[in-house]
Structure formats: structure tokens, C-alpha cells
């Protein structure tokens, strides 16, 4: 178990990715080097008008430089205030937190199922895998959104050399439909030829559908969940989910990454 830092970091870059998405890079974060894909940080805004911290997945790190990037979508008060931060602004970061993804074996075909704002941890996972020598063509990166505007950082994804499958509900980019429909088509069309592993992060409905796909087709893998998180470190019990085997798990510290089939979604 990593001992998280709880310290001030500084915004060194804020990039408007359009359609309410922003990429923020924080510097002077001593534990940047220990942030693995699937880890999240718990961000305290400088003004307690946003009283509780907000969990944000790590989207990338610059180890040597002690920098971490998060990618967020403005949805409410916390994310709005984050998007208004200016270079040099101080922000307190508690992290890294949670259980990160288990990396797949190097030869495995990997299906990534990213939905909207669930995309950042999968971006980091894919980046890390490629950096560690996973053949990018084995990574099938499905990325779904309402419409083209919800699919951000396309050039960055493509640069990894992986197989990029954008999916939009209005057909304005990539294939038309739900991302999990595209994934199901992929699984059924390849059935028997490959034994893939699946990683998913996105809205509730998408996670539920991905979990069902996994169980239906016997595809293992992991999902990163969201929940309201007052503390982020396991002490408030506010973030629980029901386990299929009975009982509760805390999303913040028993997760946010859970095995497919583990949680009742």
C-alpha cells in the first residue's frame, strides 16, 4: 500500500480541450513517480465553497519532473472551479490513491472501453503499456461519446499506434451507436481467435454493459468505478458498492479498479 502524499502542488499548465474538457498539469507533486494507471488523486480546491475534495484519475505523469496530468470535464461546481484555475495557482493533492490497474501480459489482446470522462485512466494505461513494450496493435481502444466533441485528445491516442475505434451516439465521429455495441461486435467477430482482456472506465450504464459483456463472453478484465468520495482513503464509508459475493467494498481504496463480475453494477 502506497503512502499517499498530502501536499500543495501548483498548476503549471491548463489546456482547454473544447466541449468543457480540460487538461490540467500540476507540478511539484512529490509522488508523481508512484502514480500508476488507475490511481487517482483527491484534489482540494483553494476555496472551501467546494468543501470536499474531488477525485480525479491520473491521465499521465512526468516522473522526473514531478508532474501529473488530469483530464476533466466540467460537470458541477468542483470541476468548474478547477477549469478556472490559473497557472501558478496552488492546489492541495492527496494521492496517489486506490488500487491501480493490473497490467495485462505483454502478448494479450487488450480491449479498452472508454466512455466520456472515463477516458483519462485508460489513456494512461495504454500509454504505459506501450512504453513497457506492449505491441500497440494489440490494443483495441474503443472510445465512446454522445458526439464528436466528447472524443478528446484524438491525435494523442492515435500517436500511440494502437487501434482506435471512436464511437458516437449521433454518428458524428467513428461508428454510430453505443461504445459497448461496437465492443460486442468486435468480440463476436473475433470469437475463438483471440482471448482478450478488457479494461473499462466510463458512465454507469457503460460500465454495466461492459461488465455484462465480460460475463456473457467470458472476457476477463477490470473496470474503474466512480462514486461520491468524501475522504478517498477508506475512512468515511461513503463510497461503497455491493459485491456480487455479498457485502460492500469501498470504491476509493478497495477500488476504484475492480475485476469484471466482482461488483453489482
Amino acid at each position: 500500500m502506497i503512502k499517499p502524499a498530502c501536499e500543495d502542488a501548483y498548476l503549471i499548465q491548463s489546456k482547454d480541450l473544447r466541449n468543457s474538457y480540460y487538461s490540467l498539469t500540476f507540478g511539484s507533486f512529490s509522488k508523481a513517480g508512484q502514480c500508476r494507471p488507475g490511481h487517482f488523486v483527491h484534489v482540494q480546491l483553494p476555496c472551501s465553497d467546494v468543501f470536499l475534495r474531488r477525485p480525479m484519475s491520473v491521465a499521465s505523469v512526468s516522473r522526473g519532473k514531478k508532474e501529473i496530468e488530469i483530464i476533466l470535464k466540467v460537470l458541477g461546481r468542483g470541476t468548474r472551479m478547477m477549469s478556472d484555475l490559473k497557472k501558478g495557482d496552488r492546489i492541495n493533492i492527496l494521492g496517489p490513491l486506490g488500487v491501480p490497474f493490473r497490467l495485462p501480459r505483454r502478448s494479450q489482446t487488450v480491449i479498452m472501453v472508454a466512455g466520456g470522462v472515463g477516458f483519462p485512466p485508460l489513456l494512461y494505461l495504454a500509454t504505459e503499456m506501450v512504453a513497457k513494450g506492449h505491441d500497440p496493435v494489440l490494443i483495441e481502444f474503443f472510445y465512446g461519446g454522445r458526439s464528436a466533441g466528447d472524443i478528446v485528445e484524438k491525435p494523442r491516442i492515435k500517436k500511440l499506434g494502437l487501434k482506435f475505434h471512436p464511437v458516437t451516439e449521433d454518428g458524428s465521429l467513428g461508428s454510430l451507436g453505443l461504445v459497448t455495441q461496437a465492443v460486442e461486435e468486435y468480440i463476436t467477430s473475433r470469437k475463438g481467435t483471440v482471448k482478450p482482456v478488457m479494461y473499462g472506465c466510463g458512465p454507469e450504464g457503460m460500465l454495466k454493459a461492459t461488465d455484462e459483456l465480460g460475463r456473457k463472453y467470458g472476457v476477463g478484465g477490470q473496470l474503474s468505478l466512480e462514486a461520491p468520495m468524501p475522504c478517498g482513503i477508506g475512512i468515511c464509508l461513503g463510497c461503497v458498492v455491493n459485491l456480487r459475493q455479498g457485502g460492500h467494498a469501498r470504491v476509493c481504496c478497495d477500488g476504484p479498479v475492480f475485476d469484471i463480475g466482482e461488483v453489482i453494477l
Binding site: 500500500m1 503512502k3 499517499p4 498530502c6 482540494q44 472551501s48 467546494v50 468543501f51 470536499l52 475534495r53 492541495n92 492527496l94 462514486a227 461520491p228 468524501p230 475522504c231 478517498g232 482513503i233 477508506g234 475512512i235 468515511c236 464509508l237 461513503g238 463510497c239 461503497v240 458498492v241 457485502g247 460492500h248 481504496c253
Partner: protein
């Protein structure tokens, strides 16, 4: 000269007056990953009930202005697993261990407390007679003098070490309830538990908590907590553990001035889990600056008009 931070509650000496509040530090394991628990005056566990409880469905927390609502619903491992799985860890920690006890009937308080009496690692118990989730005919125990006295008296018979009665703020006169708890044999008071509150989503028209209402905590309630600590202090000679919105050293000093011998930090742990440790350090600086040799010299020293 370093100020003396030691305080004594019902004969039990604490290294310093800062505790973590029940329900805000689990059973101590997570905080122990951040700092040695010996830095705390005491740790108060999540409320323990006879049977394990999962609590209410999520959402069971909601953010409010300078505070939060929770209706966790006394989720806990139950007394059996607590003794088996949590006590061994707690026994090794170099801090005072206070186990918070809850129940939905007096028998349950008694049974859990009796089991804890056999555990020497448990230095004191804190009776949660004030949780909005503990009902007898829709009424909190802690909202009624008779029930308060009866439940404390019943536990008194089976628990031989100090009993802290945790009082509810949702009453007309907290001092009257304190009297009743003292009558029942309490050795100290914790003041306060959370205020009943609610919040509604104006889009869905749904309460923000599946329990429809919950407990308000955090800096928002500090003025109420301070007034209640002082009301109990003026009524009773038993020591008081002040709780409610404590997040900084000056909050803690305010509570001591109003009559608290020790303090618990709850919600602030969610914002910064190091809060009690920081408060202890900064309080030392304050005491030095004020040339006060011992923290306990602050207790009740508010200079009223």
C-alpha cells in the same frame, strides 16, 4: 519549554487532547498508514453494533455549505469481527483506544459493552445514544432524559472502565440530557454528534441521501457545538470531549476555552487526514506564545461578558 499537552479524561491520561471522531477514522488502519497513531490523544472507532451492518444504500453522503450530510447508517463489522479482526491491530497502537458503541435497544448496548469489557485493549467506550439512525419508537435515545439515564445505567453495570456518553445536539436542553447521563453513571460527555439535516436535488426532486435525511457535520456546525459544550460545562463537573467542525488549532482552542478537556476531529479528516496532528503542533506554538505551560489550563477559561 514545551507545553504539557497531556490531559486526563475520567482517570485515563491522553498524550494530547486531540482524538479522531467516531465514523471518521474507521478502525484506525487507514490513518496508521499515514502516521503513527501515537500522535493522537485517542482514536474513537466507528460505532460498533451487535450484528454487522452494511448501512444505508448510496448516496449516503452529500456536500453542503462548509459541511456535509451523512447517513452511513452505522455500517460496521459487528462486535464479533471487531473483536477478532480489529482489536488485535488496535491493541498494538500506542494510543488510547475508545470504542464507540451503538444499538437499537438497551440490550444491544449492554451486550456489546459487556463483550468489550473483556478486552483490555479498550480503554474506554463512547456510548452513541445520539445517532439519528438509532430509534426506539422514532425517538433517539439521546433525545430523552429517561432513556438516556436508563441506557447509560444499564451499560454501567457491565462495563468497568470509563464510559463517555455522546450527546445529541437535536434537543431542547443538552444540559438536561447530560444530567441524565451523569445520573446513569457516565464518566464524561462527548458533545456533539451531528445535527439532523437534509438536502434535495432540484433536478430529480430526490433527497440527496437515500435515508432522506442525515447528520450535518463540519465547520458549519462549530458555533452550535461550542455553545452546547459550554452549556454542558456550566451544568456539570464531568469532563467534556468537544466535537463539531474542528479543523484548525484555533477551533480546538475555542472548544477548550468553552469547557472541553479534549476534542475530536471528524469531517476535517476527509479534507486533510493529518488535521489532528497538525492541530497538536500548532496548539503547542500557541501555548508557547501565550506563555501557558499546559493545554489543560485553557479548559473553561472563556472570559464571558
Amino acid at each position: 519549554m514545551t507545553p504539557d499537552m497531556k490531559v486526563t479524561i475520567a482517570g485515563v491520561e491522553l498524550a494530547n487532547p486531540l482524538m479522531t471522531a467516531s465514523g471518521c477514522c474507521g478502525y484506525g488502519e487507514e490513518l496508521a498508514n499515514l502516521y503513527p497513531l501515537s500522535k493522537l490523544g485517542a482514536l474513537v472507532t466507528k460505532s460498533i453494533t451487535l450484528k454487522p451492518r452494511l448501512g444505508h444504500p448510496v448516496p449516503r453522503t452529500a456536500e453542503t455549505a462548509s459541511g456535509m450530510l451523512n447517513a452511513i447508517g452505522l455500517a460496521n463489522v459487528g462486535i464479533d469481527d471487531f473483536i477478532r479482526e480489529k482489536i488485535p491491530f488496535l491493541a498494538k497502537q500506542k494510543t488510547v483506544v475508545i470504542v464507540n458503541v451503538a444499538g437499537s435497544a438497551i440490550d444491544e448496548y449492554v451486550e456489546v459493552s459487556a463483550r468489550l469489557n473483556d478486552q483490555p485493549a479498550v480503554d474506554m467506550i463512547e456510548l452513541n445514544i445520539s445517532c439519528p439512525n438509532v430509534n426506539e419508537g422514532g425517538m433517539e435515545f439521546g433525545a430523552n432524559s429517561r432513556l438516556t439515564e436508563q441506557s447509560v445505567a444499564a451499560v454501567r453495570k457491565v462495563f468497568s472502565r470509563p464510559i463517555i456518553a455522546k450527546l445529541s445536539p437535536n434537543v431542547t436542553s443538552i444540559a438536561d440530557i447530560a444530567d441524565a447521563a451523569a445520573q446513569g453513571g457516565a464518566d464524561a460527555f462527548s458533545v456533539i454528534n451531528s445535527l439532523v439535516g437534509t438536502s434535495v436535488d432540484v433536478d430529480s426532486w430526490r433527497p440527496r441521501l437515500t435515508n432522506n435525511k442525515g447528520g450535518l457535520t463540519g465547520p458549519a456546525i462549530k458555533p452550535v457545538a461550542l455553545a452546547m459544550v459550554n452549556a454542558v460545562y456550566e451544568r456539570s463537573r464531568l469532563p467534556i470531549v468537544g466535537i463539531g467542525g474542528i479543523a484548525t488549532w484555533s477551533d480546538a482552542v475555542e472548544f477548550m476555552l468553552c469547557g472541553a478537556t479534549a476534542m475530536q476531529v471528524g469531517t476535517a479528516l476527509f479534507i486533510d487526514p493529518f488535521t489532528p496532528v497538525k492541530i497538536v503542533n500548532e496548539m503547542k506554538t500557541y501555548l508557547k506564545k501565550k506563555k501557558i505551560s499546559a493545554a489543560r489550563d485553557l479548559v473553561g477559561k472563556v472570559r464571558k461578558y
